[in-house]
Amino acid sequence: MGASIEDKLFLNRFNVDETSHLKIINGAVCIDDCEEKPCLYICPANVYRLEQNRISINYEGCLECGSCRIGCPHLNIEWRFPTGGYGIRHKFG
């Protein structure tokens, strides 16, 4: 029952914006300088995933908690709220 993160996100209602509200400022920092890469663990929506030579951002499932912004040891994430009315829309809250 709802075991994987994909299953969990599938329960939610999102009004997905065309462009991402999350941006990695300098991709090289993630690959060259960031050993720990906490974004891969702390994000409750598994937005950040390590691909071959970069970290991909699956902003569509972002729960808008802000953890990646302050948890990135290099403060390398540009973070804003999705445009008004977009993003997650809680059903129960």
Partner: protein
């Protein structure tokens, strides 16, 4: 939107809406700006509210179709080991009658929408789907309005109330509240699990409309400084689990995996058995305590609720502090409008109101509680299983004399905890509450 309002309020949560209600009651021209499609669309809490503080804003809330899930008649506290746990609970008939709605559960998507409707009926204006991206300031730094993400999105106001919650890029950008450090917030995830109403009544031994809260500490947070809760709603359970964000980083634990193990704990699994997950959300909790409250007012602005880090970890009180601080901010604004003075010295009265209330009293009283948890990781690592071992041994009937069992337990406890460490734990714990 190049209009002039007396007051612009950022965020239609409990703090912002409480302020809007008080201002509207006094005939003041206020606008609430909400980034969600509707008030509550972005909001989440563990799920309890407090009747005393809500009735301060809407005295007859229970008669006004307030979307209450369950009236809480019993509070449980669990201390869990890997395989089991201790449970302490208190139930009282008074909470069904004369103290009804002392505490009740809500879903914030529904409640905040209802609450904003009350403000609308009083005459407040609530504009949704609008993100406040910056504050307008004059040459002296005095706040004169807000900038929004709408095309012609500048809006002038005599005073701005920041009630935009704990995750506030706006606060960080303007510098009015420093960005919290990962050690000063807990990241919590929540899953709502649907179950038939009568099944919840059976499992929690409640009559329809009444419910139970469970606050949980122990090994469920994988050795991290954290907490979990289970709250009963009418036709669902709210399961939340969270831990210090710095701990998540250090331990490389994924919040949703921790939630899954929590759901599989032997004391939790039977409660949610057969339930259908309905929603999954995440949010921060302020853990900085009294010593990390920012300056809550300045020239042309005030900060209320979660944005001001007003949260009592031990008693899981936040939304009440949001409502009361929002109302205090509104009262201060009303005086400022009468004087036509929105300077920091005029708005300073807000701070005295907080000082003279339970908000600062309680936050001061528990200022050592978060450091206590931080300084005693054994509460979440070795102690739960040691205490589980103790109870399991004492309750196992196997012909061993009790004295011998006690010796065995003491020896087990002492392998991971020195006597002085245990005494320090008790002493620090006593002093922190």
């Amino acid at each position: 939107m190049n209009e002039k309002y007396d007051v612009a309020i950022v965020g239609a949560g409990p703090a912002g809406i409480s302020a809007a209600c008080v201002l509207a009651d006094n005939g003041i021209n206020a606008v609430v700006l909400e980034r969600g499609k509707f008030p509550g669309a972005k909001n989440i809490s563990g799920g309890v509210l407090y009747g005393h503080d809500l009735s301060g804003i809407i005295p007859d809330f229970a008669q006004k179709n307030c979307p209450i899930e369950r009236n809480i008649v019993e509070s449980r506290i669990w201390y869990l080991s890997e395989d089991g746990g201790y449970s302490v609970s208190y139930r009282d008939k008074a909470f069904e009658s004369e103290r009804r709605y002392n505490v009740f559960t809500v879903g914030r998507a529904k409640f905040d929408r209802w609450f904003a409707d009350q403000a609308l009926q009083k005459g407040a204006l609530v504009v949704c789907g609008t993100v406040v991206t910056d504050l307008l300031r004059d040459d002296t730094g005095h706040v004169t309005g807000v900038r929004t993400d709408r095309p012609d999105g500048d809006l002038n106001a005599k005073v701005v109330l920041l009630a935009d919650g704990i995750n506030s890029p706006l606060a960080a950008k303007t510098g009015f509240r420093p960005e919290p450090s990962p050690a000063h917030v807990a990241l919590a995830v929540k899953e709502v699990i649907n179950l038939p109403e009568e099944v919840i009544d059976q499992r929690f031994n409640t009559s329809p409309g009444n419910g139970v809260t469970i606050e949980i500490l122990g090994s469920v947070t994988s050795g991290m400084n954290g907490v979990a809760v289970i709250y009963t709603n009418r036709k669902s359970l709210s399961l939340c689990i969270g831990a210090n964000l710095a701990d998540f980083s250090a331990k490389k634990i994924k919040p949703y995996e921790m939630l899954e193990s929590f759901k599989n704990h032997p004391m939790v699994a039977p409660m949610i058995n057969g339930g259908k997950p309905a929603e999954y959300m995440a949010h921060w909790l302020a853990e900085g305590g009294y010593d990390n409250i920012p300056k809550l007012y300045g020239d042309g602005y005030l900060i209320a609720g979660d944005s001001g880090m007003l949260f009592n970890t031990l008693h899981r009180e936040g939304s009440n502090m949001a409502m009361v601080s929002g109302a205090f901010a509104a009262e201060t604004i009303i005086e400022a409008i009468r004087k036509n003075d929105f300077s920091r010295s005029s708005l300073k009265k807000y701070e005295s109101r907080l000082q003279n209330s339970f908000i600062f009293d309680d936050l001061k009283k528990y200022r050592k509680f978060n450091p206590f948890l931080e300084n005693h990781p054994e509460l979440f690592t070795t102690l739960p299983d040691a205490l589980g071992f103790a109870a399991r041994e004492m309750l196992t009937v196997d012909g061993t004399p009790k004295k011998k069992k006690q010796k065995k337990i003491w020896k087990y406890l002492r392998t991971n905890h020195s006597l002085s460490a245990l005494l320090r734990l008790v002493w620090d714990g006593y002093r922190s509450v």
